[in-house]
Symmetry: D2
Subunit: 261 residues, 4 copies
């Protein structure tokens, strides 16, 4: 079955920083999409902040099984309306993979309900990513650990909810640790946060990183996605109760009235 | 140690529905506060929607260990600014107990990151609340189950995240089930959702309900609450790294620059 | 990809109770295997208590992706050695689906580390099974709820660990509730407990039950199963440390010595 | 309220290794008990492998609120009968704190249902323990991290079930990481695994370690411990059903008959 992925890139530093554009001349989103396309069963398109509706129209989301999100400098420029649209689609079953500095994106904070804060240091230090859950689908084919010679340090405490599963934990040369791969579920949507990916390093060219991204897309894909309203809260009338009951006691609602919100 | 509870009541149906004002002439919040005061170690005050800042000023929240929330008709009238203030305080360690129709309150949806929808029927049917986690502090002193002869049916699926622990599950006469007691943690804040409490029934006069509320306040109280900013994401300068490292590679941030948000 | 399932049946009441043999003349295990075979990608074999090594030889387990377990009268007759063998294979990644009275099987108690006790009543009452996690793979294709007109009541508290996810909760006519579908993970092995299936009722002929079983087999199948020893605890010699370190301080172990167990 | 702790020490290396007896002349268990006694509300006794019934008689366990377990060389010498007795008492609500090499103790493996394996290296390297859950009661009063200049490296993957909460993660000088503080619940018993404590280093003299141990004892103490049989699975007779039902269908059990196990 083909999985339809959309890679959302903020695409700001690629056009404002020579360092970043040298590494990712076509944009980080394009390189991430290329990594996904290594799997012939994944079809990856891209969308960026600068496009109308940030490239995330209802049509695009309706045709997206898994959304990947990379943002850093312009979290505040993402329109609240689009964040709500994406949120709703995740609740319907679209998967979400949040990358690196996306920990502070509106969409991730919206879904976690926590600050999503952490410590950081940009020093090009060594990061060693350990698989702590070797049977997890996102770790398929990986060695016991792999290294990135230059990455930004993200350090604990990472103020997110306790995850469904911890897949990766990272060791940093400068002395910190970080839960670098965490899974969540919100509504029908599978969510994976993955820490590496600072824009001044060639992280998204790394083979192991590519493997994690492809694994994560397959894991996050939920064939049971629906298009109905996830916030619907239907009344079950007395006469349609599953067991016969008689109405008793005082009532607030008139017959057939909608519930309060 | 004295625990400082604040019972927030929407206080709308108490003044607009004769049924509700007959049952709760002083307001539901007042009756809930009376239940808490049975424990001499809990000091309970109240706050309502109609007060300035909904009664939830910075001062009140700073002096609140656990907030209880009952709302139904006027979720939309709660100011977003107050919701963010309460959210921030929960992240700092204030406990939150969300009651009944509060499942659709802004604050609960904000913290869960899900629709928090369910099925419902107002027919005064019997609800039987089972303790499924008898060793949990919130179930202390309860029998194996207890009944409310008249309650509003809330039915699954309840679209919330998988809880930290399921404490209660309810059986309804009309044929449904509901996870009626669920725990969560967001930042340092302990959160408990408790389903009973429809305003047209005398639920908050029930002894077992009172016991659950007092247990929940004690459970939710976190002595490790702090007043610092939970969203702070400090940079760790290279020269203060825990292990000596040399700065390497290209950099986005100038020395001492704040992180992007 | 073909999934190799093995249905283990205790096969005692089928030969000692006329009621049971009338319903399941070929044994419950055979009927369960027939339900699985509706999916052309599942190949199901059976094994029973009475066979040598209870039909669970090393060879059979090595060729099993998912094991289903139905037992009731003869839990104590299952050899401890076989239980350890199955446990080890689950840790390597074989899935396990525990059915009904299997809650008290040695293998389930071994993996849960809890009593796995519950309340029960054999009265042929109505059970209504609610999907509380509609986006879960095990619930694919099911309606919001389905009914079994005659089932044995299993009631809370069910003394199992808090699950990874709660998929089903059941309503019983006699007034109880039960978490009837729960997921766990032990090592690389996915585990699903599913409550219906009393031997005096034709539960395993029910279409919805069949669908759940097939879904559960697909969900439990872990393509990352391995054949290595899951209890291996390797020493990492100083000279092979990931970062160069010097040995310091007193030592208990001589160089190359095995760890203590 | 006074909490009654029992510190169980294997007490083998203290009598066979000069290194260990030099550091812990009265035994590790005695030093751990001294750390607990710093809190005047904790009364700590000790028990050792060599005592009759390993010092864990029914009377001792009945008077123990929280059991601490340190073992390494002689896991296999702990009698299975005692392991089952301790297990049963934990299910009833006694807390358990498993220390360091206790990861391979019979009691921990019994409760986890997994191999509990890990990587290790005895090189006296630096360990830095990070608080990843700063609002947790076990982290009360700790700094953001603390260091042990010499510890045994324990490395991931640690084959335990996904924890209820991850409290600590450790960084090791030689390049590994480890989830060094994990919480679980089995029956009514709260369980905490804490990684530091190799016998050739003076870890249990460290002030931060002492603070963690005292916090953990207070956290693990469950005032709702009971003395009833946690494996009891009572029949609910039809005539005592919570809702009136009529018995239907064929039956396996005669009236009043005990359930099968």
């Amino acid at each position: 079955m083909t999985i339809r992925a959309t890679v959302w890139g903020e695409n700001v530093h690629e056009t404002t920083s020579q360092i970043v554009s040298d590494i990712y001349p076509e944009g980080m989103h394009t390189q991430i999409a290329k990594q996904l396309a290594v799997d012939k069963n994944i079809v990856a398109r891209t969308a960026t902040l600068q496009q109308p509706e940030h490239g995330l129209t209802k049509e695009v989301l309706a045709e997206t099984d898994v959304l990947l999100w990379w943002g850093h400098a312009a979290h505040g420029e993402v329109a609240d309306e689009i964040v709500e649209r994406v949120t709703n689609r995740i609740w319907q079953g679209m998967g979400l993979i949040v990358l690196h500095s996306g920990h502070f994106s509106k969409i991730f904070k919206r879904l976690m309900g926590t600050p999503c804060a952490l410590k950081w240091r940009e020093a090009g230090e060594r990061e060693r990513i350990f698989v702590v859950n070797p049977g997890h689908a996102i770790a398929a084919g990986l060695p016991e650990y792999f290294e990135l010679e230059n990455e930004e340090m993200y350090g604990e405490p990472f103020s997110v909810p306790e995850p469904m599963e911890t897949v990766f934990i990272s060791w940093f040369q400068g002395g910190e640790v970080f839960r670098s791969g965490l899974t969540y579920k919100r509504g029908r949507g599978n969510i994976f946060y993955f820490q590496p990916g600072h824009e001044t390093y060639p992280t998204y060219y790394d083979d192991n990183i590519g493997l994690v991204l492809r694994n994560a897309v397959r894991w996050a894909h939920n064939p049971q996605a629906v298009s109905s309203d996830p916030s619907d809260a239907p009344n079950v009338p007395v006469e349609e109760a599953l067991e016969a009951i008689e109405e008793r006691g005082p009532k607030l609602h008139k017959k057939g009235e909608k519930g309060l919100r």
